[in-house]
């Protein structure tokens, strides 16, 4: 809301500006309260007033003797699962996206089947996977059934992003590579993938963040070891200390770091290509 040009705004400007401010408060206010309360003093409780300021509850998170359960391991599991989901989503979405550029028998049907899993209720996907595993006599685990359930959610997204990315991809780059003697593999490695890289990072980012806070598909499929969202859910029912808030602050920071790194690298790549510097 810059106000350098002197005064003469119509009243509607101020009306909508106020509306926008309310909206921002509505969006970020609740989380801000959580961040603030995570610095609650040692003797403080789950609600205001602040009883001093400390980082005590952050320490509590990594204290294995605390009541809050094994947060550190859940956190590690969620990071690992997110990374696996991101990697598989990238691999399959890029491959499928490149493949779908050519019409083939049944490509339309295949596409809709792939996209349809977006509208399946997540909890039932998880339930189905769980039942399927028990029918086969397999033990559900976050690395198998959990991973699979999450992929039903991230793959359609990844595929849709790749469609958008490839829609803007000029095929004459590939033809030029072929013309200059590149084999199909060289063309993929030296030309196609590097040019698509910003979009691929986007797919990875989506895969990771969707997995990192996935709950409905994971809660019934993660087996005996929990991912972070499930641990947090459990904590809300039995942990009554501001450690919960501290956890909220830390996971938000992690999300921001991941998103920031991804967007930063995309921006860097496209600025280099648009000619930001001359190296």
């Amino acid at each position: 809301m810059a106000m350098h040009d002197s005064g003469k705004r119509p009243w509607t400007f101020w009306f909508f500006a106020a509306f926008f401010v309310l909206f921002v408060i509505f969006l970020y206010g609740p989380m801000f309260v959580v961040y603030l309360l995570s610095f609650q003093g040692e003797g403080g409780g789950l609600t205001f007033p602040m009883n001093g300021v400390s980082t005590h509850w952050f320490g509590e998170l990594v204290n294995p003797e605390s009541r809050s359960g094994d947060i550190a391991s859940s956190f590690q599991r969620s990071l690992g699962l997110g990374a696996m989901v991101a990697a598989i989503t990238v691999f399959l979405s890029v491959a499928a996206g490149l493949g779908f550029r050519r019409r083939f028998l049944g490509s339309g049907v295949l596409f809709y089947i792939a996209i349809a899993s977006l509208i399946m209720p997540g909890l039932f996907v998880g339930l189905g996977v769980n039942v399927f595993f028990s029918v086969l006599g397999w033990e559900p685990d976050w690395t198998t059934s959990g991973l699979g359930s999450q992929l039903t959610w991230t793959l359609p997204f990844g595929l849709l992003i790749m469609f958008a990315v490839l829609g803007r991809f000029n095929r004459s780059y590939e033809e030029a590579a072929t013309d200059l003697g590149a084999t199909p593999w060289q063309r993929l490695r030296e030309v196609t993938l590097p040019i698509l890289l910003p979009g691929i990072i986007g797919v990875a980012l989506f895969g990771f963040t969707l997995s990192y806070d996935e709950f409905p598909r994971t809660v019934l499929t993660s087996g005996t070891e929990n991912t972070l969202p499930i641990t947090i859910w459990a904590m809300t029912t039995n942990v009554t200390s501001p450690a919960l808030y501290a956890l909220g602050t830390v996971t938000t920071l992690v999300s921001f770091a991941v998103v920031g790194t991804a967007l930063g690298s995309i921006a860097l790549i496209s600025r280099r290509r648009r000619g930001g510097d001359s190296t």
């Binding site: 000029n170 004459s172 780059y173 033809e175 030029a176 590579a177 072929t178 013309d179 200059l180 003697g181 590149a182 084999t183 060289q186 030296e190 030309v191 590097p194 040019i195 890289l197 790549i269 280099r272 290509r273 648009r274 000619g275 001359s278 190296t279």
Partner: protein, 387 residues
Amino acid sequence: MNAPTNGNGRIEVMNVTKKFRDTTAVANLSLNIDHGSYCCLLGPSGCGKTTILRMIAGHESPSSGDVRIGGQSVVGLDPVQRGTAMMFQSYALFPHRSVIENVGFALKMRGASKDERNGKARELLQKVHMEKFANRLPAELSGGQQQRVALARALITNPRVLLLDEPLSALDEYLRLRMRGELRRVQKELGITFIHVTHTQLEAIAVADVVVVMTQGRIEQAATARDIYTAPRSAYVARFIGGQNVLTGVVEGVAGGLATVRNAEGARAQFPVDKANPAKGASLFAAIRRDRIHLTRNSTYRNGDELNAAVGIVHAIENQGTYVKVTLDLTTEEEFVAYMPDGEYFRDPIDIGDRVVARWDAQNLHLLEDASGGQQFAAADKDVALM
């Protein structure tokens, strides 16, 4: 650029047809292009010229027929085995690679060492005066600079044939004129075959040894640039190349190699028919250069008063600097234009709305091959109704 080239770049396109699903892009087309010549494929968009180019390049394969380079069939071979290189319409420089990496790309694919490919790339960049920009990215270059880099990149493999897909269309007018001269110079220096696709008539006439005018997947005329301009084969070519008025009418009689022809408006002209003896009542077509027309103000002349003349009303006047373009309305549907030398025009300027007689010398008419009709040239958008 005296690098050795890889053999004979004679192109033979033999009875080639290319179909995309149910549309025919190229219909049973044959074309020979001599080694070391500069050939322009010219035509409106969708005429099949780019498809021909891509089939020679190996980015498209013919539905039937054969493509030979240097006497060898190349159908099914990849571009490297063909000894061709292509310059793409928007250059397709790899955005993530520097200029020198772009130019050296083909050598990298062949496993050349970094020193080797950078050395060769630098040599080529020097030849297109781009060595100062070796470390830039394509996005940091102007259109003309990108074109030079694309040229260097295509030439690094010493191709025997260079294929250029609308190489100048991304440039502004000034650069277009400069770069087309540059392309011609490079082609002369290398002595290899250039095939250049364009939809701009003057560009083709300016650079090419051989101009191939195409329409609807077939060749309308393939001839030297000069012949295309001064001796178009058909009304389509004459109209498409421009600079000519197309006249048509019905034969009244033939004498001494001249057919007297009368048009729908009653104007009469003599068409040189050589030894041919067209029947009375047959329709003939002829072209005459616009700078071979003389205009005189006249308020009483009526069509048919003289041979080789027609009367009309001045419709538009454009000063082109060295000449003045005067468009007449002869009440026929085809445009009729006279180019008057500026000196002659300004001695006694005629004005829009003036009634003028256009006269010409029968020797300057050039008979076109079109038989009765002209309707078979579906790509020509106007009916032929002029004298």
